[in-house]
Amino acid sequence: MNSIQPMSRIRGAVHETLPHESGHKHVAGTAEYIDDMPEPIGTLHAYLGLSQRAHAEIVSIDLAAIAACEGVVGVLTADDIPGHNDVSPAGKNDDPVFAVGKVEFHGQPVFAVIAESRQIARQAAAKARIEYRDLDHVTDVLQAESANYPLVIDPLKLERGDIDAGFAKARNRLKGEMRIGGQDHFYLEGHIAFAIPGEDDEVTVFSSTQHPSETQHMVGHVLGVPSNAVTVNVRRMGGGFGGKETQANLFAAVAAIAAKKYRRAVKIRPDRDDDMVATGKRHDFHVAYELGFDDEGRIEAVDATYSARCGFSADLSGPVTDRALFHADNCYFYPHVRLRSRPLKTNTVSNTAFRGFGGPQGMVGGERMIEEIAYALGKDPLEIRKANFYGGEGRNVTPYHQTVEDNIIAQIVKELEESSNYAARREALLNFNHQSRIIRKGIALTPVKFGVSFTKTEYNQAGALVHVYADGSINLNHGGTEMGQGLYTKVAQVVADEFQVDLDRIKVTATTTAKVPNTSATAASSGSDLNGMAAANAAQQIKARLVEFAAETYGVSKEQVFFEPNMVRAGANLIAFADFIKAAYGARVQLSAAGFYKTPKIHWNRAEGRGRPFYYFAYGASVSEVSIDTLTGEYQVDRTDILHDVGRSLNPALDLGQVEGAFVQGMGWLTTEELWWDAKGRLCTHAPSTYKIPLASDRPRQFNVNLASWSVNREATIRRSKAVGEPPFMLAISVLEALSMAVASVADYRLSPRLDTPATPERVLMAVERLRSAAQG
């Protein structure tokens, strides 16, 4: 029984390929999402009543027909809110739970029906009679600008060098503009919250939220109770992608208000269409740019304005538009630069976080500028890219005055160029296009440099709570949320590695504000960077106590105590981990610790547009080849090769999944995912029947994805890994640029196609037509 077999290594260490901790439950249908939880007897259901106008005064609201429905328990309006009618994450008091007096977008919540069943609540909600007095509305960002709509938050300006001098020096100058579409998150599990009333002022909310602490604070704010009365729990989400960073708050608040009011459990889950209409999306942008460059394509000066459709309130539009500017340079040095944001109000749903958080839009704009130079000079865009990469001294400072210290883009691009056989394929493809009448091809290699850290410095902190039970089993809790990315798996690996125990000894428990307080959103790709470090810190605290205990017990020095695979060695003594823990418990060693981490080195002065907002950068590059049909604009991605940098991967399988998934999601954003509003300001693409995310058959016909195995984070991140959630999303820009090249072939590559996004078959065909007629003069 007690025979001890030393193992060479534990099962489930860091850097190992391991399955997702819930994989076996996902496939069996036993992974529990909030809607799957058993409901207490008497559970009520809430359903939102949404505005039917884009911008209007509310003249009267008649809810009598709803109240008369059998099974309806009540209707909540702003009058039923005990605390503040506001869930603004920006603290601007501009995000009401329920509209009062006027509505500012089609789909804005006005009331909620509470009923015995969801079906009753939903059907009853359609019976409201609301009289509106219409006001002029604006859904488009340029219209908003010309109608003098306000900015939802202070804009940002990044400036470095002397822009006028830069333009004066440049031999070539050009101006252009671009429209970049938004994107719906289309998490498969829609928004949901489930509130259970407690004693006194207490309430427990199960919320599909990426930001349990903020949801907790918002529920407290809306109920008018302190945060200590509210507990928010989330075991897992069925996808988040940023769509549940702030947008979950309203649902949690409504469920909590109703739960306290009726003293019954209350669940709220909108239908998919209502979810898509009533919750925020990726920001659409308009980019106006002016470029100065030399005959080799080296950039001298960039002056660009990024205007964003923010919707009716600030939400996260400030940091999103900031991050767009932070990524307008992508991998390129701009000697003289001025970048400005215009976070414009519109009568649309308030746009929010979405994987990349403005970065993708910034980068698409930057890559468009590269493309303009290439077509203006008749060169391969890759040549222009390489000519402008950040380099050594004098060419390594970003528009926000952070020095790029960890630049590996040249090596990544070089390796990918070779492994994908870029040059020969481009040559072959040019020949193909020369001979092919209808079908045309394009190829593009695009790089990515993405800054990692929340630009709001205070968010770069995390906590964890680790318990080692007397039987040697370990309970791990941290502030990060699991939305599919594998965070729970990675952090458990870190803790397994710290204690040198097999992974199955560790149970990761649902994220809850009751265990780890004041957490940051699981966002900005920061989940494992922050929570992995906090969990390691907790484990290290316990280990320090255990080392002391072992040294005393076995009469050895602390330096002679080692955590070996499932064992502890103290001098000549080798003790099984469980036995060792049992002994430590017996000796009254504290076997629990709260860990903490804050990211070092970072600082940011927004007013001056200067600082080091990012701890480090993650890099990557992709090559995509596409074919288009010049009669219909239809296309397919024939092949994509990716080389992506995740530092030393904590779990290559999970990281590969992030890279593949992000790429395809990014490809959807740039190709078939189109948000379309009608003249009345109604979003008409609000369900999968009308809003088209990629299918299995849309992924590249050949898809070669690799991690840059040689990369090591130069900063002391958790096990020298890098963040992976967002950066690979932007690898999809190669698809857009390849489509653009295929279009350019109809005018012999002399004209920049200026393909806006999403590049639907329609936009591709219309660009083909535009170039053809321009080429004919």
Binding site: S22, V27, D35, Y187, G190, L631, T632, E674, S697
Partner: protein, 492 residues
């Protein structure tokens, strides 16, 4: 002869017999599973049959043979399940708790991330694997057209699909090894009684035969007829319409017949796209791509050609092709039958040549003549599982002198109904079939159509594409290479 009535719906749910006397006409299978049975492995992602998170298998007997197919539980009504075997994700793991080979393959290839779509993928892959244990990429992608995943980018799921047979042998699968037993159980459930539950506007009726159906509809002319429920399902789940009384066609085997009558192919109105596929592509290989791009696999397993026509949508997938082929709609009211050329069936938006109490009994499609050139092109924002922005069917008969003898060109998405391009046809007939004649005819489209702008496409794009499709048709039927993209011609 008085029809016998049964006041309950009976079906097998996994290994349990379900007999229900209190089924609402609009109760969906998904709600039944999740709310009534608390089987919550099956998820609701969209409630409109587009995301596949709710995919389950439904086995049914036809001609004594048991076949399992993936369906969307969210838009499948419980009333339509009489006599079926519903298999949910909960039934897959072995009695010992071990994962099923499909599930094991998904775990081993890291094919789940958030996991919410995963049970639906598992069920779609299970349905495929039972029929095709070693599927190629094309078959896998086709089987997964109705399943959305937002996390993985699908690469891992494809790897899983390719590796299932390396994990387990399909021949040992319970649904195959217990086939005889289930077949027996289902044949016991099969009777010739009419199922009737509830009354008035809440009534649910499932006739057992087509004559019974004709009688039921004659007596309840205001009833909603439900075949595949791929559209009517949304009337309930999205528009919350009160559609009762409802008559389900799910048990009427006569309507599921496919027959050949002289020169014609006759599809019963209850034939699903999947059932029709082998016959359709044997007679009309030009329809293969279109057929494979109708909805997703689950929708093709449920939806019917008859329903697609009867429904009268201007953007239905099959009407342009059927008009192009000169099909007729066979209608029946009570015992009175009549035929209508399909193009005349579509009168105006939301108005068809079908009176109350009348139903589409079959679609009759004549074969092509040897010298008919024929093609159908569907254009959509996303290639698969999308509704067409424009769908054009072209049939041109060229005489030995190279002159156009006959031309039928029909479009969906260009008008309020599926409609012929009469002016273009006229311009072509009698002309020499060459590039110049095509070029001239292309200019006539603007006389035939005034398309709309909506979220699928602008009017300009629709018009331009319609014109260009005639050019594509000319080039392709003329044998020019590389006229269209072919996803499956690219090496993997």
């Amino acid at each position: 002869m008085a029809t016998e009535i049964r006041n309950c719906v009976r079906f097998l749910l996994n290994d349990t017999l379900v007999e229900r006397t209190n089924v609402a006409a609009t109760e969906t299978l998904l709600d039944f599973l999740r709310l009534d049975r608390k089987l919550r492995g099956t998820k609701e992602g969209c409630a409109e049959g587009d995301c596949g998170a709710c995919t389950v298998l439904v086995g049914r007997l036809f001609g004594g043979k048991l076949k399992y197919e993936s369906v969307n539980a969210c838009i499948r009504f419980v009333g339509s399940l009489d006599g079926c075997h519903v298999v949910t994700v909960e039934a897959l793991a072995g009695k010992d708790g071990n994962l099923h080979p499909v599930q094991r393959a998904m775990v081993d290839t890291h094919a789940s991330q958030c996991g919410f779509c995963t049970p639906g993928f598992v069920m779609s892959l299970y349905g495929l694997w039972m029929q095709d244990p070693h599927p190629g990429v094309e078959a896998i992608e086709k089987a997964l057209q109705g399943n959305l995943c937002r996390c993985t980018g699908y690469a891992a799921i494809i790897r899983a699909a390719e590796s299932i047979s390396a994990v387990g042998d399909a021949r040992n699968d319970p649904l195959l090894s217990e086939r005889e037993e289930v077949t027996h159980k289902l044949s016991v459930l099969k009777d010739d009684r009419r199922v009737v539950i509830g009354d008035g506007r809440q009534q649910l009726i499932v006739p057992a035969t087509v004559d019974d159906f004709a009688g039921v509809l004659d007596a309840n002319p205001e009833a909603t007829i439900v075949a595949g429920s791929t559209d009517v399902g949304l009337w309930v789940t999205k528009f919350m319409r009160d559609i009762g009384p409802v008559v389900f066609l799910s048990r009427i085997d006569e309507l599921r017949q496919i027959s050949e009558d002289g020169n014609d192919l006759v599809l019963g109105a209850g034939v699903t796209y999947t059932e029709a596929y082998p016959t359709i592509i044997r007679h009309f290989p030009q329809l293969k791509e279109l057929w494979n791009r109708i909805g997703g696999e689950q929708v093709r397993n449920m939806g019917t050609v008859g329903g697609n026509v009867a429904n009268g949508s201007p953007i239905g997938d099959t009407p342009p092709a059927l008009i192009g082929l000169g099909a007729t709609v066979e209608l029946r009211k009570g015992s009175v039958r009549r035929s209508v050329p399909i193009e005349n069936y579509f009168i105006a938006y939301a108005k068809q040549d079908r009176v109350q109490g009348e139903f589409v009994e079959s679609i009759r499609i004549p074969r092509l003549a040897a010298n008919d050139l024929f093609a159908v092109y569907k254009i959509s924002k996303r290639l698969d599982e999308d509704i067409s922005s424009v769908c054009g069917a072209f049939r041109v008969r060229v005489d030995p002198q190279g002159r156009v003898e006959d031309a039928v060109i029909a479009f969906g998405g260009m008008a309020a109904t599926p409609k012929r391009a009469a002016g273009v046809e006229t311009a072509l007939i009698g002309a020499i079939w060459d590039e110049a004649c095509v070029e001239d005819a292309m200019q006539i489209f603007r006389n035939d159509f005034t398309p709309l702008t909506d979220w699928r496409a602008s009017a300009d794009y629709r018009m331009l594409t319609a014109k260009n499709l005639l050019r594509r048709f000319y080039l392709e039927t003329g044998g020019e290479n590389l006229v269209r993209l072919n996803r499956y011609a690219v090496a993997f």
